[in-house]
């Protein structure tokens, strides 16, 4: 994100008066005081509930603690050693990567396709765009209960839709092969409208001349898409990629309602296992270790974003 820097705003009197007299000093002191007063509550909350948790996590990750004993027991890096060599953790990481990958690729491709659709001169496209975006602002827990019933093998909507074709639905959420794809479908349904919205704004901001010139030169629709539009949309694709990765890594509500990490560990993502270790197994040290691992992964992602944004994958 770029921070717009404009010249500092000074009180208009000060631009005309000579500096250095007592009155100005007093005014400046009052201005400092007011600044501190206005900013302090926000900074305090941010310090206590956003920055302190990182330090606290780092400390807890070096301990063994069931959150009942009077104090955590210091065990050095044992949690990291154990976690990083634990096959269950490897599986969790793999599930997280597959889950995130499917959602990122799915929402980018479907989102882009929808954006092109909404960019066509069709009647009612605005309404459909709004309908497709609506799930994005709905409660994940509520969306999850709707889909749990849609996926219900006995009386669900999906069975009603595919039965006429002679197909039978799987028991989605109780089948370890189908649970993860089921969750991916729900998250895509909830979030492709967002990707479509952003892509649409990007499409509408593209310079028309380039595309028109290529069309006159006889470039096909596909060539114009691949060689002109897609590269010009690169910054938007990149933005969506990063935000979707960060969001999906922390996906929790739909998983909690639909599968609870199961069946078995089929949908145990990193975010679920942080919750599970911390608030169901009461193993603060392990939960903190997993939190630090997630923090580092996402920090790398955001740092890459910041670096690329600085170099501006921008066409302007």
């Amino acid at each position: 994100m770029t921070v717009v820097e404009l010249p500092a705003r000074t009180h208009p009197d000060e631009r005309t008066l000579a500096t250095g007299n007592d009155q100005l000093k007093r005014r400046r002191r009052r201005e400092y005081g007011l600044f501190a007063l206005l900013v302090a509550p926000n900074l305090l909350v941010i310090a206590v509930f956003a920055y302190w948790p990182i330090i606290y996590n780092a400390f807890l990750s070096l301990t063994d603690w069931n959150m009942i004993a009077a104090r955590p027991k210091f065990i050095g890096l044992a949690n990291y050693g154990r976690t990083l060599t634990d096959p269950a953790f490897h599986k969790t990481l793999w599930i997280t990567v597959v889950f995130t990958g499917l959602i990122v690729v799915g929402s980018l491709i479907i989102g882009l396709a929808l954006a092109f659709l909404f960019n066509l001169p069709l009647k009612g496209r605005g309404a459909v765009r709004t309908i497709a975006f609506a799930p994005h602002i709905l409660s994940g827990a509520a969306v999850a209960t709707i889909w749990a019933f849609i996926f219900d093998p006995g009386y669900g909507l999906l069975r009603a839709l595919i039965e006429p074709f002679g197909a039978e639905p799987p028991d989605w959420m109780n089948n370890s092969d189908w649970a993860l794809p089921g969750l991916v479908i729900v998250y895509l349904w909830k979030n492709v409208g967002f990707a479509a919205l952003i892509y649409l704004a990007g499409l509408q901001g593209l310079p028309k001349e380039l595309d028109e010139a290529a069309a006159i030169d006889g470039a096909s629709t596909w060539t114009r898409f691949r060689a002109i539009k897609l590269p010009l949309l690169a910054p938007i694709t990149f933005f969506l990629l990063i935000t979707t990765v960060i969001g999906t890594f922390q996906a929790f509500d739909v998983i909690a309602v639909m599968t609870g990490g199961g069946p078995g560990d089929a949908t145990t993502t990193l975010s679920w296992s942080i919750y599970n270790e911390g608030f169901q197994a009461f193993n603060a040290g392990r939960a903190a270790t997993l939190s630090i691992i997630m923090f580092v992964i996402l920090l790398v992602v955001t740092t890459v974003q910041a670096k690329v944004m600085e170099r501006r994958v921008h066409y302007r």
């Binding site: 900013v39 509550p41 948790p53 990182i54 497709a132 609506a134 509520a142 009603a160 967002f194 309602v257």
Partner: protein
């Protein structure tokens, strides 16, 4: 012409994909329980409120609704006040090391919320705030992104207006209230609506920080209802789900353009 027809078919198909689940929710919530468990399903149900009274009997939904409303209203108010005051200070006042402080505020966006769950739970426990409104609300009122949006907006306002206010002898708070905020109304509405939606939908924090039914919020209550009722009471569960969704759907219909505007702005100007 043929191509256009295909495009319309696709457009209608897309609408159906996104409306279908919502129709399924709505029709089930108003179906008679016997209709829910018939096959093939009843597409045009005989309407009844029965599921809602069942949901009310199964869980204290009025209490959940009250808690969600309190948290959303108070949480949004505090967070937006934080954002406005911080943004004003950074846009209009001088302070040593202001830039460093601003990056400290923005840096909070780099901390994924999920990573803070356990430490924040322990901090809130130390403060004695478990299962209280303070515990539900306070940890979420720090504002980084909304502060960023507001400050960027303040910087686009013409200097002459705030200068004129200062020359007229208006103090900073008066200038903020009388001049800057009225000129920032669309951005303010956007920030309020987006924050309110987040507060209402918040799930994992209320889940871990509350432990009695009297403090649960709607989304958490829904999870408990589903776990307790299981597959036997889809009508009850869908009625509860509708209670969670209806207020946000309503807000979305009213304030759609502010939400869409704010989200695309946040993305494209970033």
């Amino acid at each position: 012409m043929k191509l256009r027809a295909i495009q319309y078919v696709v457009l209608i198909g897309v609408a159906a994909v996104f409306l279908g689940p919502l129709y399924w929710l709505l029709s089930t919530a108003f179906k008679q329980p016997s209709e829910i468990y018939q096959w093939p399903p009843a597409w045009w149900p005989h309407l009844t409120w029965e599921n809602f009274s069942l949901a009310w009997k199964a869980a204290p939904f009025d209490r959940y609704f009250l808690n969600s409303t309190i948290i959303t209203v108070v949480g949004t108010a505090l967070k937006v006040i934080n954002a406005v005051l911080t943004a004003y200070a950074f846009a209009y006042l001088r302070f040593p090391f202001k830039k460093v402080l601003f990056f400290l505020v923005l840096g909070a966006m780099m901390v994924p919320g999920h990573v803070t769950l356990l430490p924040n739970y322990l901090t809130v426990a130390t403060l004695g705030w478990i299962n209280t409104y303070a515990g539900l609300i306070i940890p979420g009122i720090g504002s980084a992104f909304a502060t960023f949006l507001m400050r960027q907006h303040f910087l686009t306002l013409p200097t002459e207006v705030t200068d004129a206010a200062a020359v007229d002898g208006a103090g900073h708070l008066r200038t903020l209230w009388r001049v800057v905020l009225p000129m920032s109304q669309p951005m303010l509405v956007t920030v309020v609506v987006i924050t309110a939606v987040e507060e209402w939908n918040n799930f994992v924090w209320p889940l871990i920080v509350t432990n009695t039914a009297s403090m649960r919020t709607l989304p958490v209550g829904l999870l408990i209802l589903k776990d307790e009722e299981g597959l036997a009471a889809w009508g009850t569960i869908m009625a509860g789900t509708l209670l969670v969704l209806a207020p946000m759907l309503l807000i979305f219909l009213i304030a759609q353009r502010y939400i869409v505007g704010g989200i695309t702005q946040g993305a494209l100007k970033g």
